[in-house]
């Protein structure tokens, strides 16, 4: 056991070496890890044969047992294992990547034995990441914060895809703990903000890929590029094969849910998304994709009607997530600073009004957004916080919303009419 009240990264231990002779070495040392051979996770088999189910059970039990063993290790031994055992990191990463999400295509109900072991692995994985995100476990067991930041970053114990996976897998019921974990990770290692900045263009690229695959274009960087000569040959949502359409909608559903789960758990990341222009890209993406996909799902001939219903539900779920993500971004980057009375309130108010104005041409998006988060409510808040706001401008915005509702032919919810009238 390593000595107490000294950060783990500075502790030394004396213990028998391979030859049996006592030796002193740093408490965090590769020779102190156990050869445990963690196996990688694979998800429960869908329609699996009894042999496949047995194999899953065996594998998942190994993982649950090994992670429980890991969690019971003393602080120093736990960290030796975490830092130096690559099989453990591959096991954890395989779980994050492959564990079934609540949104995945509904498989056959799991047998009680499969469900039990899956739950045991799910909990043990979360607790392992929780322990890995904790630099001070008790007054005796802790790291020098800066060294902790280096260890988790340099050894890829956490990275941006892993953090996103953690949010989508565990954020629904454990958001407070997860928030603390991610906040601590970003606080102790601000390089994760740089990594997030580096990741965001790839996330935007995912949206572009979806547009390209459906032969669509929208405003943004991609729209500025000259169209390729073969661009016309690109299949559309109506003409591509159904399997491909289903894949794109599953991808959209997963992407929008993951982004929303991350921002909902860790709103401090909103400013990074904001600075990469998500508030202008999301509405135009929505406007380009949603009507096209809706038309395809309605009009195409589905032999399997349950697939048609499933795709409709997934598209509609994705719509909700885009709308909610836009609201989160607006709330945390523009509205909240105004409500908190921060300096430059006028700049934030101007930005908020500009965003609302930029939504006006995206009529479908605007109506769906207004249905969930009435613009009239935000404008009313704005007017209360900043009474000098230009009334002509706010009236113009509210009329624009009214006109968007009229153009879509949808009926506005009753409560919204009242709040719009009050504004």
């Amino acid at each position: 056991m390593a000595c107490a009240r000294v950060p783990l990264d500075e502790q030394q231990v004396t213990e028998p070496g391979p030859s049996g002779k006592e030796r002193t070495l740093p408490a965090l040392h590769p020779d102190r890890k156990e050869e445990r051979c963690f196996v990688p996770y694979t998800p429960p088999p869908e329609n699996g044969s009894p042999a496949e189910v047995e194999e899953f059970l065996e594998r998942a039990k190994f993982i649950a047992e090994d992670l429980e063993w890991l969690l019971a290790l003393p602080h120093d031994k736990f960290w030796c294992q975490v830092v130096f055992d690559e099989s453990l990191q591959r096991c954890l990463d395989s779980y994050l990547h492959q564990a079934p999400r609540g949104l995945d295509l509904a498989p056959l109900p799991l047998s009680p034995a499969v469900a039990d072991v899956q739950r045991a692995v799910h909990r043990a994985v979360f607790l392992t990441f929780l322990r890995m995100a904790t630099h001070k476990e008790s007054k005796d067991h802790f790291f020098t914060p800066a060294v902790f930041g280096e260890i988790i970053y340099d050894n890829f114990l956490f990275d941006i895809p892993k953090i996103l996976d953690l949010c989508v897998l565990f954020g629904k019921g454990n958001s407070q703990l997860l928030h603390k974990m991610i906040e601590n990770i970003f606080t102790q290692q601000p390089a994760y903000y740089n990594d997030l900045d580096e990741t965001l263009p790839t996330i935007l690229q995912v949206f572009d890929t979806i547009l390209n695959k459906c032969g669509l274009r929208c405003e943004g960087a991609a729209a500025m590029e000259p169209m390729k000569l073969n661009a016309q040959k690109q299949p559309t949502a109506m003409s591509m094969n159904l399997e491909e359409l289903a894949d794109i909608i599953l991808y959209l559903c997963d992407s929008t849910t993951t982004i929303h789960a991350f921002l909902d758990t860790f709103p401090a990341a909103c400013s990074s998304f904001h600075s990469h222009g998500f508030l202008s890209r999301l509405p135009s993406f929505y406007e380009a994709v949603v009507p096209d996909f809706e038309k395809a799902i309605r009009r195409r001939n589905f032999d399997d009607k349950s697939l048609q219903e499933d795709l409709w539900t997934r598209l509609s779920h994705s719509c909700r997530k885009v709308v909610e993500t836009t609201h989160l971004l607006l709330h945390h980057t523009c509205l909240q600073p105004i409500l908190e009375g921060q300096e430059n309130m006028h700049t934030f108010a101007e930005e908020l009004l500009q965003y609302f104005t930029s939504f006006l041409p995206e009529k479908r998006f605007l109506v769906d957004y207004d249905e969930q988060f009435p613009l009239a409510d935000d404008i009313s808040l704005l007017q209360q916080a900043l009474p000098v706001i230009d009334e002509t401008r706010t009236s113009y915005l509210l009329q624009g919303v009214e006109s968007a509702w009229d153009s879509t032919g949808r009926r506005r919810p009753q409560g919204h009419l009242q709040s719009a009238a009050a504004s």
Binding site: F156, D159, I160, D254, T313, H317
Partner: protein, 198 residues
């Protein structure tokens, strides 16, 4: 096949994740079983201790019978681990079988699973035989004495579970589920289908 995932794309196309070496060995179930056997062998309880414990508690007149039962248990263990293994592995398997069956009167699902998890596929007759041997070995000794013996000898029964990280943390198994903006009923999709059917 795994559904397409945003984080899969980020792992592949961004520069913020560790790039996996495809040539690196991933542990399979067979390797894992061998590792478990190795770890089990280090857990404290040995075949010699079991032999000593049994012979000590069996009467002098029954020593030969006890010795015969222990031999049969080793034989069953040999059938379970396979004949290619040495005496050390066979004795280790016999210890595992003794621990597994010391308070069981038949081979249940749990026991079958535990043996399979440790040694892989095995002949069920060998498990039946080892269960019967253990039952005969422990019968004259008494359950509590056997349990005390195993508890004091095996580190597996004295883990530091009391201090396991996170044991008091309330964990929720809730997952994000589909939450559509528009109900299917309100979407008109169902009505449209009726029209199409006509």
């Amino acid at each position: 096949m795994a559904p397409p995932r945003l984080t899969g794309a980020l792992r592949s196309f961004s520069t913020v994740s560790k790039k996996e070496d495809p040539t690196r060995q991933l542990y399979d179930l067979k390797t894992k079983r061998l590792k478990r056997q190795e770890l089990f062998a280090r857990e404290g309880l040995t075949w010699q201790k079991i032999v000593h414990f049994c012979t000590e508690h069996w009467g002098k007149a029954e020593q030969q019978a006890a010795s015969q039962e222990l031999k049969s248990l080793l034989q069953a263990a040999k059938q379970i681990v396979g004949t290619e293994h040495g005496q050390e592995v066979i004795e280790c398997a016999a210890v595992f079988l003794f621990e597994t069956f010391q308070n069981k009167d038949h081979v249940g699902t749990e026991e079958t699973r535990a043996i399979k998890q440790m040694f892989g596929p095995f002949p069920s007759s060998a498990a039946e035989a080892s269960c019967a041997c253990v039952a005969r070995l422990v019968a004259p000794i008494g359950d509590s004495k056997v349990e005390d013996f195993i508890k004091t000898q095996s580190s597996r029964h004295n883990p530091q579970q009391g201090s396991s990280f996170g044991r008091n943390i309330a964990f929720s198994y809730d997952l994000y589920t589909l939450d559509p903006l528009e109900d299917l009923q309100d979407s008109g999709l169902c009505d449209e289908r009726v029209e199409l059917d006509f």
